[in-house]
């Protein structure tokens, strides 16, 4: 066992605040980023829960919910691209939902084709639900939005911009941020969004291989009257738009920075105090001619182990909380890359704290041992 690790273990009570501070920082970063990721992944559900490899919309479309009408004839342009296997139209837009008992609510109407190989129908729509949606005026909403929409369940009737709609089914897990999703057929959705028969919001396409999508997108970008994205690009673009539009990124950055700062100060002070407590021992070593950098390396090794132990404390807690969040259906996402990022940032913080604690070695003066 290295000397620094031996010291850390023997004087664990002294180092405990540093370990806990690092753990707290890691926990804070992972959970905040995970929550934000989960929250904004809701915004790209229409992109992520469908089968299209590429999305084509009006020029400068910022996110999936901000699509604008464009000619349906663009469908041919997309379908004729080499590599494209199938293309279809997809309409989406905000509308006002008139509650049966009065009042209104902003909702997001999604109109897609309903065949079994449809590209735009979200995966939550079972074949049975799709069949029900073929009826004129039929819509499906998420069961968690029932209260928000002022309805009781299947069979209820409401109005969207004066058009009568009837709830024919409910889905689960289609959470929304700006307004509840209202799923419908193309024919039902068009009038709800005041689109003409010649208009669509997006053209979706599927390639023979998903890897062909970037090439097709590159070709479609030659057309200035429309804009094209791969599924992954559009998903990310949507989330990033929401992240920046709501300034949540700044809030996250400030909170994470604060957590890091507190962690860094506590860790640095812990290491400083621990080193200062051994200042006479270090002074003996320096009198014996052992170079100062060797002692500095020990302080840095201690900061490394404090970082590792802090993360070892934090990771199980993070995983436990993630499971807990799943149980209560909280939008927390913790992909492995995010966990790795939190670990990386926290370790960097611990090492920087170690560097800051090196100032304690300036107190080492062997001549003082002879007074």
């Amino acid at each position: 066992m290295s000397y620094s690790l031996a010291t850390l273990w023997y004087e664990r009570h002294r180092y405990m605040p540093g370990v806990l501070a690092v753990g707290f920082s890691a926990l804070l970063i992972a959970l905040q980023c995970g929550l934000l990721l989960g929250l904004f992944s809701i915004t790209s559900i229409p992109v992520d829960h469908t089968r299209a490899h590429l999305w084509v919309g009006a020029p400068q479309t910022l996110s999936v919910d901000l699509g604008r009408p464009m000619p349906e004839s663009y469908l041919l342009r997309v379908a004729s691209q080499p590599g494209v296997e199938k293309a279809e139209i997809y309409i989406q837009g905000f509308a006002y939902w008139g509650k049966p008992n009065g009042g209104s609510e902003l909702c997001m109407v999604i109109g897609s084709r309903l065949e079994s190989d449809s590209l735009g129908a979200v995966k939550e729509l079972t074949p049975e639900l799709r069949a029900r949606l073929t009826e004129p005026g039929a819509i499906i909403v998420d069961e968690s939005d029932i209260g928000r929409l002022g309805i009781k369940g299947i069979g209820d009737v409401a109005e969207i911009i004066g058009q009568r709609v009837r709830v024919v089914g409910l889905v689960k897990g289609l959470r929304s941020l700006a307004g509840p999703y209202v799923l419908a057929s193309i024919n039902t959705a068009r009038p709800l969004l005041r689109l003409s028969q010649e208009q669509t919001t997006y053209v979706l396409a599927r390639c023979r291989h998903k890897s062909d999508a970037p090439g097709v997108v590159a070709k479609l970008r030659d057309f200035t009257s429309m804009t094209a994205f791969t599924q992954d690009e559009f998903s990310l673009r949507t989330r990033m738009h929401w992240l920046t539009k709501t300034k949540a990124g700044i809030a996250l950055g400030c909170a994470a920075a604060l957590g890091l700062l507190v962690g860094a100060i506590v860790t640095s002070q812990t290491l400083y105090a621990a080193t200062a407590a051994s200042i006479r021992e270090y002074a003996v070593l320096q009198a014996l001619g052992i170079p100062r950098w060797r002692m500095a390396l020990t302080v840095l090794a201690q900061s490394f182990w404090v970082g590792i132990l802090g993360i070892a404390v934090a990771v199980p807690v993070v995983l436990l909380l993630t499971q807990g969040a799943e149980m209560v259906n909280a939008p927390l996402q913790l992909p492995s890359w995010l966990l790795a990022l939190a670990v990386g940032v926290t370790m960097t913080m611990a090492m920087v704290s170690g560097l800051a604690a090196l100032r304690s070695l300036r107190l080492v003066e062997p001549a003082t041992l002879l007074r």
Binding site: R280, L285, Q286, L288, P366, A367
Partner: protein, 241 residues
């Protein structure tokens, strides 16, 4: 026993602390020769400048005036890095108090000096450490931490730390002050053996008069002046061993 050429010479060392009316002269033109294998004792009342002299001749505290010639090197005319390298290669120190790392075992305290100082490989450091601990009578205590050792044992570990690299010089400041005489005598015996058997130049600073019969030479310092100043010899210094 004494060699003809000194391994360490202090020539007209002076050191003053403070300035103006509060200036205190700790050393006043002190000259001194020490020889290989010599076990010398530096005595004097508190505040007489003993520790300052020890610090100046061992390369820890720069004197205001004078020279320290150790194995041919003028210690205060070389760079800090060179002085550190000199101490690393040739000097061992024992200070008041034990100054042992609380978390490390007796073995680790000694190993650390070899591994960090000389970059000795683990096996070699372990072997040399165990030999030294055996010499100190601490083989069975190698795995114990300072809190588990008696005062005498801790001081022996501190001596082991000073002698493990087989230094040419060993400087000890009040090495018996915290010990009863039985343990103090053991400590002095260890230092005397280092001088006799390894040819180490040992200089001990102490108030303890019981040590006097056990050393080769006694130097008295009072008010920064050696009571019987040694003449600085002009002969060549000992070469590095």
């Amino acid at each position: 026993m004494l060699r003809e050429r000194p391994t360490l010479r202090a020539i007209a060392l002076s050191r003053t602390f403070g300035s103006g009316e509060v200036a205190t002269t700790a050393l006043h033109e002190v000259s001194l020769d020490l020889y290989g294998g010599e076990f010398a004792l530096l005595m004097g009342p508190s505040g007489s400048g003993k520790s300052t002299l020890l610090a100046a001749i061992s390369g820890l505290l720069r004197p205001d005036h004078g020279q320290v010639l150790a194995l041919g090197k003028d210690l205060w005319r070389i760079s800090d890095g060179e002085r550190q390298a000199f101490r690393l290669k040739f000097c061992g120190f024992i200070f008041q108090g034990y100054n042992l790392f609380p978390a490390l075992t007796a073995r680790q305290q000694l190993e650390m000096v070899l591994r960090w100082g000389e970059g000795a490989p683990y096996r070699e450091a372990r072997q040399r450490t165990d030999e030294m601990l055996s010499l100190l009578g601490l083989s069975k205590k190698a795995h114990l931490r300072p809190v588990q050792l008696s005062g005498g044992e801790k001081q022996r570990v501190a001596i082991g730390r000073a002698l493990i690299k087989e230094p040419t010089f060993c400087f000890a400041d009040e090495p018996t002050s915290a010990l009863d005489w039985a343990h103090g005598e053991q400590v002095i015996e260890l230092l005397r053996n280092a001088a006799r058997e390894r040819g180490t130049t040992v200089l001990v600073v102490s108030h303890d008069a019981r040590i006097v019969p056990l050393v080769d030479r006694v130097l008295h310092l009072e008010d920064g002046v050696l009571a019987e100043p040694e003449p600085a010899r002009s002969s060549e210094l000992w070469s590095v061993r």
